[in-house]
Symmetry: C2
Subunit: 211 residues, 2 copies
Amino acid sequence: MDQDIIKKIPHKTIERLSQYRRALLICLSQGKTHIFSHEVAEIQHITAVQVRRDLMLIGYSGNLRRGYNIKDLIALIGTIIDSQDGQRVAVFGMGNFGRAISAYFEGRRERLSIVAGFDVNPQKIGTSIAGVPVYHIDRACEIISKEKIKIGIITVPGNQAVETAKIMVDCGIKGILNYSPSPVKVPEDVFLEEYDMITSLEKVAFYVKEH
Amino acid sequence: MDQDIIKKIPHKTIERLSQYRRALLICLSQGKTHIFSHEVAEIQHITAVQVRRDLMLIGYSGNLRRGYNIKDLIALIGTIIDSQDGQRVAVFGMGNFGRAISAYFEGRRERLSIVAGFDVNPQKIGTSIAGVPVYHIDRACEIISKEKIKIGIITVPGNQAVETAKIMVDCGIKGILNYSPSPVKVPEDVFLEEYDMITSLEKVAFYVKEH
DNA sequence: TTTGTCCTGTGAATTGAATAACAAAAACTA
DNA sequence: TAGTTTTTGTTATTCAATTCACAGGACAAA
């Protein structure tokens, strides 16, 4: 697929493609071969138009009478969001969250695997949590370069997030997923996604309060 | 504050207010009394205009020369996003994620507290995880009504999410935060927020791949 | 005073994403 | 064969959120 086209896919569409793929894999395992836009929409609780528009953006054409070929579509989504030779991820902060995330991803995605965890707690260094070896943060650059890690997840306490992000950037990490409550700043060439659970829970609480 | 005005505050502004408040509390603890929009903006890594506009929407006026009074602003944000008598939350699924979330919130927010956890694992029932008592999911309605719980967090495996959400809605939960990889559907009067970690990580991986 | 600087507050323009509306193709139905 | 139904693909519209642009107040210095 052409680079210029990929660059123009909206962020939200990328997110939905990831979700379509997982839904499609389930359908495929149930023996389905084709699926209509309104069926995908129903699984994801969105509209059929949105599904068709997303697929239009990635240049996939369905069959007017049978809908979309599930296998082909999964493959096409793969060529867009997966990286050719797989991507390697490190978790910074192996506390409760770090452990939960490591366990969650263990053996789930072949092209996206968590291969290292970093912490400062001497009791954790050298151990393996959910199949992920834990190193001292001082060895970050060494391990990141050796393991060819490009993506890092921040699960350290808020007051250490900024410092941790700096280390990550200095060691050559190119994508950061920040789950700490403190926003961090990164250079333009590093992709940053932040998600704050406290904010989300307060938001839900707000809308519940407002009926 | 007037109900009609509150209803019109954009979702994104509500999220930022939650974040401003936490940043302001830190500033206050450092002895600051006033703050400029561009200072808040710098902490949050957004623009000063955005900060001013958000504060405009909640009807707060700053001082032209000294900026915003931190204490007043914290109080005002509280009247908007906090509930008068506090809100009570339950976690559905006390696996790694449920535990991490319970530990994360333990004693952190007085007006927003996790008071129950639900699971099906007999080994967990009756125990207390991070200060949260764990009950069998079959007792959900009983506990939810007794504890006056209005908000639920879904951290069960994807294949159980839909069923869990149904139980939550039937028991009178009015706000759901779904952290499972499966989207769920709820009636119109229930507020739903979904966040999928796999999607986020795949999104970061995509944009890293595209430089 | 007057001038200059540094803020806030806000209408207008822009961007980004979701929704509506509909043409056209394919396959039935009568 | 002509009409009906179903579904895709796409253009146009609407809606939400952000950014631009600037008026106007407060103070400091000259």
